[in-house]
Symmetry: C2
């Protein structure tokens, strides 16, 4: 279902992500935004990473640093498409970084609370040392679209993202691999290049790895994202992994490398199995 | 320097951790506590994990769930030994979990802001599935105390913790291994058994792995801790690793298994190199 949405201007234009993560200053304090219906997941509710990206974007408007470096969001209630109010707070301005907090409310109830430290990723990049190798994937055009022929009404998120995988994932056909690691290519639909602001969304935009263990799905309790670099244009190589499931909870690690092989985001979430 | 502190009642008694992470309700709202000088690190300031554990403990007093499940703390300013005021907020009570926030102030300035979701780790432990194997270490009594003969005045934290390593770490002798992974045993000094409340401290109580890369040290910006089980008595097996250093920042993952081989804590921090 991906890649042909008429709401995408291919390549250089705008992706709905830009429009749907915008917020406006409100007279009397705070900001307002619209949570749109273009990011819904299996539950029918908007994807958590989309809400987090929207909230962090609103906070960034109030902070004079360009890039989120580390973000932690706690998901308190499911959100719904519709209006939202964002309350932002600049907590501490340091020499190299500024930390702030943002709360997203719908109908007067807090759905998400996120704290983030911002800085400048264009600054000193000396001393880069990475031991985490990107996944070894065939080029995207030698991979397949795992969602070809797949449609689930209400799961609008799948119209916003394109995936490419070396082979068809087993869980799609009811045969979970029992290996809770997924490696794949991902990009915004239409080949739109993701900026830094999209990373807190994209780390939550893959299928839950727990599906490969035969679980039905899970809900994010907390999501931490380290934004390590501004992504170069092109497809993003992703690795998602769950190593520990206990007491009905699990973690999911999700790392993203850009087309030059640079790690751009490293995330971990704590989630509750359904 | 470890293991013989007279402030420890061996085995069954109290460790200074209990005393030093206590807080009292304050008339007019909030709580008060004393940040003691028994947890200082190289900078002379108290260890971040100690502050986080103190703050989470204060929050737990206001939340009717026994165990922190996931904690995220942002370190805003260095703290100092002395009085602190804690402001707590119960944000959202759900069916299985409750989320709250705590802020730690010294001299009117916010030094730490932490958000945490609490639950009950004694509940359903079915379906445990772990792919993350604990480090393969010789038994603690066949390991050495890497700090034997090592003393650094002002680094009082080392009197509160005991470490055991298979061999002497290279960085201690100015020969960093260039392999940014450390595996070792750890426990509270005097053989006192760590409870759940000590885990947000212990994940930050090892030497910074960046030392193995020849870096002088780093300061924690944000620390996320997943508490996965209540630890059994005995030594804790630890693995710390840094995989990515860029732009003067790095992550550090720190996982802890108890003496039965159960993963009890999984953490990641985002830190700024000095």
């Amino acid at each position: 279902m991906s890649g042909t949405g008429t709401d995408v201007v291919t390549g250089t234009g705008r992706h709905p992500f830009d429009e749907d993560t915008r917020s406006q200053k409100r007279a009397g304090g705070g900001r307002t935004a619209t949570v749109t219906d273009r990011w819904t997941v299996l539950t029918g509710h908007p994807n958590g990473g989309y809400l987090l990206a929207l909230a962090v974007n609103a906070l960034r408007e109030e902070i004079t640093r360009p890039d989120p470096l580390v973000v932690s969001g706690f998901f308190l209630r499911p959100a719904d498409p519709g209006p939202a109010v964002l309350s932002t707070e600049a907590v501490r301005r340091g020499r190299r970084t500024t930390t702030g907090q943002v709360r997203l409310f719908q109908k007067g109830k807090e759905a998400l609370r996120a704290t983030a430290t911002f800085g400048d990723l264009s600054a000193n990049n000396e001393g880069t040392h990475s031991l985490a190798a990107p996944p070894e994937l065939p080029p995207p055009d030698e991979c397949l679209d795992p969602l070809a022929g797949f449609a689930l009404s209400g799961l609008s998120l799948l119209d916003r993202i394109e995936y490419r995988t070396p082979r068809r994932p087993g869980w799609l056909d009811g045969r979970p691999s029992k290996t809770p690691t997924m490696e794949f290519w991902m990009r915004l639909a239409g080949g739109y290049d993701a900026g830094v602001a999209a990373l807190p969304f994209l780390v939550d935009a893959g299928p839950p790895v727990a599906l490969e263990l035969g679980e039905a799905g899970s809900s994010t309790v907390e999501l931490t994202v380290h934004v390590r670099a501004r992504p170069a244009p092109g497809w993003l190589a992703c690795r998602a992994a769950t190593r520990n499931i206990s007491g009905g909870f699990h973690e999911e690690d999700f790392d993203i490398w850009d087309s030059t092989g640079t790690l751009v985001a490293q995330s971990r979430q704590f989630a509750m199995l359904w």
